[in-house]
């Protein structure tokens, strides 16, 4: 029978301690994640996420329209999206499109017609969506920070101009 040297025993013991330590960390991580998940984000972060989700949907709808004439409209929405993502608190880790997928989309980003991101959308649908978005913005200013209020108001003004421009192209 092969004897186990004292040195290898000690090494094994050290590895065992390391394994236990790693296992301990692994057990702690889910608990920390659960604790973080249980803490609701502040209302402003939730609103930004909602706005991001709505803008992602709007960009997708403009992309589905597949019209060069609408490209500047989509680009302005993409600029809104980029700025909103920039305003998202870093620790929320939600600056990626995938992470905002769980947020409830801004209700203004739903076209009134039956068109969805997967089907062709009409200019009339886009105009109605822009109108709804612009009308919603003043109501989203309650209780948010001054800087976010300014951003939302500015986005709303852009959407109001979009609605007018799309009306004229009908």
């Amino acid at each position: 029978m092969r004897s186990v040297s004292r040195r290898s025993l000690l090494r094994g013991g050290a590895l065992g301690v390391a394994a236990v330590t790693v296992a301990g960390c692994a057990e702690q991580e889910p608990r920390q994640a659960q604790r973080l998940a249980a803490e609701p984000p502040d209302p402003e972060t939730m609103l930004i996420r909602q706005l991001i989700a709505g803008k992602e949907r709007t960009v997708a709808l403009y992309s589905s329209a597949d019209s060069d004439r609408l490209t500047p409209f989509r680009q302005r929405h993409e600029a809104h999206l980029a700025e909103l993502r920039r305003r998202l608190p870093r620790e929320s880790g939600s600056a990626s499109p995938a992470s905002s997928a769980g947020a409830q989309a801004d209700p203004s980003a739903s076209p009134s017609g039956a068109a969805t991101a997967g089907s062709q959308i009409s200019v009339r649908d886009l105009r109605d969506m822009e109108r709804k978005a612009a009308a919603l913005r003043p109501r989203q200013l309650d209780g948010v920070s001054p800087a976010l209020a300014q951003l939302i108001a500015s986005i709303g003004a852009c959407e109001a101009a979009h609605a007018l421009a799309l009306s004229r192209s009908l």
Binding site: P72, Q150, S154, G156, A157, A161
Partner: protein, 152 residues
Amino acid sequence: MTADQGLSTALAAEHAAVYAYGVIAARTTGSLRVTATAAFNAHRARRDQLRALIAARGDAPAEPDAAYRLPVTPSTPAQAVELATLVERGVTAAYLELTASPDTEVRQMAALAMQECVTRSYGLRPEIEAFPGMPADVASPTPSSAPPTPPS
């Protein structure tokens, strides 16, 4: 910024806009004059609303200056449009400042007024900015342009 400061800034911008559109309406004809007159009335209505808001806070609203230095003298229709769009841009910036007010109702009024300015401007010149009222660097939103100023 306090609500009162923002209200005073917006009122000053509306005073200047009323003056500028008065000049534009006097120097234009046809549909442009109709448009300028409608804008004059719209800005006058907002001006009166701001006056009332300031008075309701126990303050005395500022009176307009006797005259304002216009950035463009509207001698042609193109110059009239240029001046009108500059006016709308300046008033939009003033209302953007007011949307940071601690008073929610004031914020909402300012946001709606911004939408009016931007759509009026689009009616004159079909251009759209992604962030109306804000400077190119959105990171520090401050008024990007000033409305006509009173002569010094």
